[in-house]
């Protein structure tokens, strides 16, 4: 197949999953391995159409287990690699992610979160927050977790994800959800080939005579050595926590109530903030764009002045634990959630906020 020329910067109307796939090609992805699952199969479908005409390679694996291990191999061979799936498939990848974190291999993994547990529902959910941010697989490791809230961020975070994965030599997760994957929005796509790439010196590409063999492994059988490896990983996570926190604020300056939400929930909460302000309730939104590292420092600052926090998620209350840790008892943290693929409405969140407001006002009087 004849190759198409590199694409310039373009503004398009696209589905979240397709924008993400298109961004991956533009970001110079060398290889994608994946297995179909709703609501993200468009990523694989889009890539099987585009990659042969453009650059890189795409392979439909026999399972998510195989896909993540193909990622391990191709990343170890020095490639810029990506896989994507949705919740049940991401569960199957956890063993591989633990190995990848330990062997310190850069890669981008995308979870278009659907409702669970079990086979669950194909509707959007944020039920995988714990799995994404607390390790997921065995052992002490973290993924850098990026949480897009628009089709634009579905595309932008692919570039950012590759940069972070390569900078810190580890797996980066984009945690989206079924709605972000399926909805169409305008997206400003970066020019293709704009992300520089170097072949890492540690990659297994055949040993040249002037060096020792490169070995990719996660086996360190001496506990002293294994502890050292753990210490190195923890030191890396500390640097990441200091340098890579990202969040967005909306009307937090004078807010009595800080609503915390990520991804799709944050879009809904933005509307709640507007509705609340129309009613004279001073609400503001803090939207973490990175879930690990978490904007704990900023939340602690906001906790000094806020009357209360309201954490909103499409789950039974997962990120709220991190909000409570950051607030550290300085003020009350409330939670509003819907589960199993139900998206909360701005109005029902507003009702919750009004109840909290009544309580707090009554208490103060």
């Amino acid at each position: 197949m004849t190759k198409e020329p590199l694409k310039p910067r373009e503004v398009k109307l696209m589905k979240g999953n397709e924008a993400l796939a298109e961004a991956a090609i533009r970001a110079g992805m060398d290889a994608y391995f994946g297995y179909p699952i709703t609501p993200q199969s468009e990523v694989l479908e889009y890539l099987t159409i585009e990659v042969p005409k453009r650059s890189g390679l795409v392979l439909q694996a026999e399972s998510e287990v195989a896909a993540i291990n193909m990622i391990y191999g191709a990343s170890g061979a020095g490639g810029r690699v990506m896989t994507s799936s949705s919740s049940p498939g991401i569960s199957l990848m956890q063993e591989g992610l633990s190995y990848i974190a330990s062997a310190e291999l850069p890669c981008l993994v995308v979870n278009v979160n659907r409702g669970g547990p079990g086979l669950g529902t194909i509707q959007p959910s944020q039920g995988d927050y714990f799995q994404s941010t607390k390790g997921g697989g065995h052992g002490d490791y973290r993924l850098i977790v990026l949480a897009p809230a628009s089709v634009q961020e579905m595309a932008d975070f692919v570039f950012d994800g590759f940069v972070l994965a390569e900078k810190y030599r580890g797996p980066v997760l984009i945690l989206a959800d079924g709605a972000l994957g399926q909805m169409m929005e305008k997206v400003d796509l970066k020019a293709e080939g704009s992300l520089p790439k170097t072949v890492p010196s540690w990659a297994t590409r055949g040993r040249s005579k002037d060096r020792d063999p490169n070995i990719i492994t996660s086996l360190f059988i001496q506990p002293e050595k294994m502890e050292q490896i753990n210490m190195r990983l923890q030191a890396k996570y500390k640097i990441i926590a200091e340098k890579e926190v990202r969040y967005e604020e909306y009307h937090t300056d004078d807010a009595d109530y800080i609503l915390v939400a990520y991804g799709l929930s944050a879009r809904i909460v933005r509307k709640t903030v507007d509705l609340a302000r129309e009613k004279g309730i001073k609400a503001g939104l803090l939207r973490p764009q990175t879930l690990f590292p978490f904007p704990s420092v900023r939340i602690a600052e906001l906790a000094k002045h806020a009357k209360a926090f309201l954490d909103v998620e499409m789950n039974a209350g997962q990120m709220v634990e991190d909000v409570r840790l950051a607030v550290n008892g300085k003020t009350e943290v409330f939670f509003k959630g819907r589960m199993g693929g139900i998206i909360p409405s701005p109005e029902e969140i507003l009702e919750e906020l009004e109840r909290i407001d009544e309580k707090i006002v009554a208490y103060q009087e």
């Binding site: 060398d30 290889a31 391995f33 390679l57 392979l59 694996a61 026999e62 399972s63 287990v65 195989a66 896909a67 291990n69 193909m70 990622i71 391990y72 191999g73 191709a74 990343s75 170890g76 061979a77 020095g78 490639g79 690699v81 063993e95 591989g96 190995y99 062997a103 297994t204 590409r205 055949g206 040993r207 040249s208 005579k209 063999p213 490169n214 070995i215 990719i216 492994t217 996660s218 086996l219």
Partner: protein, 256 residues
């Protein structure tokens, strides 16, 4: 023996390949892994491809294969070597890629990866060390354990009805169109070793042709797992393993 022993005037006819490191093998006396490692590395040296070869180690007794093989290597999760190898080979199609896997790794936990890698005809070599037991974890039953074989998890013998039949993975993959060269060898006698080396050589040579997967089973001893002396294990292998796992070529290029 002294390291600096000089044998003046004598011609070197046999030496440790430079593609093996100085690390002493940790394998038990009589185990076939050391011989299999050496044969693979002899072939890599003879073909002069040590700079173009990437090996994938399994989880099993040979998990540390990369301590011995002086080439770039990756250590895969248990059973995932074929998927890892696929990732490497797809990215570096000009390089030689092989996996080295035990029977638990390849024929139990990694069955799906093995079959689909061969079914895609990935242009790589799979070296499958069949010792009819889980060596590393202390002698548990493997999918390739024989009927009535006593292991630590089949203490009254493998009863096929309850525990399944010995799995002939090599015959199974030979049916797949993606398989280019499939053979079963052993390393328990000098003659078997010579034939096995030839098969390993073929598996590397055929990668140049880009025609599909080369699959070499190596029937091997596990004296510790079998609870036998090395010598008795040779006998047990001949009397019990070989009737079930017949040596020889199963699929040859051009003869389907």
């Amino acid at each position: 023996m002294e390291d600096n022993l000089v044998l003046e005037g004598l011609e070197v006819v046999y030496h440790k390949p430079d593609t093996l490191t100085e690390a002493p093998f940790h394998y038990c006396p009589g185990c076939g892994h050391g011989v299999a490692h050496r044969l693979i590395m002899e072939v890599v040296e003879e073909m002069g491809i040590e700079e173009q070869t990437i090996g994938i180690a399994p989880v099993g007794c040979s998990v540390f294969a990369y301590h011995y093989m002086k080439i770039d290597m990756q250590e895969a999760a248990h059973g995932r070597a074929c998927a890892v190898a696929t990732g490497v080979k797809r990215l570096l199609p000009e390089k030689y890629v092989f996996t080295y896997q035990g029977d638990g790794d390849l024929a139990a936990i990694g069955t799906a990866e093995t079959i689909h890698t061969v079914n895609r005809g990935e242009n790589l070599a799979i070296f499958f060390i069949n010792n009819a037991i889980y060596g590393m974890t202390g002698g548990q039953m493997a999918p390739t354990s024989l009927c009535h074989q006593v292991t630590s998890t089949s203490p009254y013998g493998r009863e096929e009805k309850a525990m399944g039949f010995p799995l002939k993975m090599t015959e199974l993959v030979a049916h797949l169109p993606g398989a280019y060269y499939v053979t079963r060898q052993a390393v328990h006698t000098p003659n078997a070793v010579r034939k096995c080396k030839k098969a390993i050589r073929n598996a590397f040579e055929y990668q140049k042709e880009n025609k599909g997967t080369c699959f070499v089973e190596i029937v091997s001893n596990c004296p510790s797992g079998w609870r036998l002396t090395p010598l008795d294990s040779q006998k047990w292998l001949e009397e019990n393993m070989l009737p079930m796992y017949k040596l020889g070529d199963i699929k040859l290029p051009g003869k389907d």
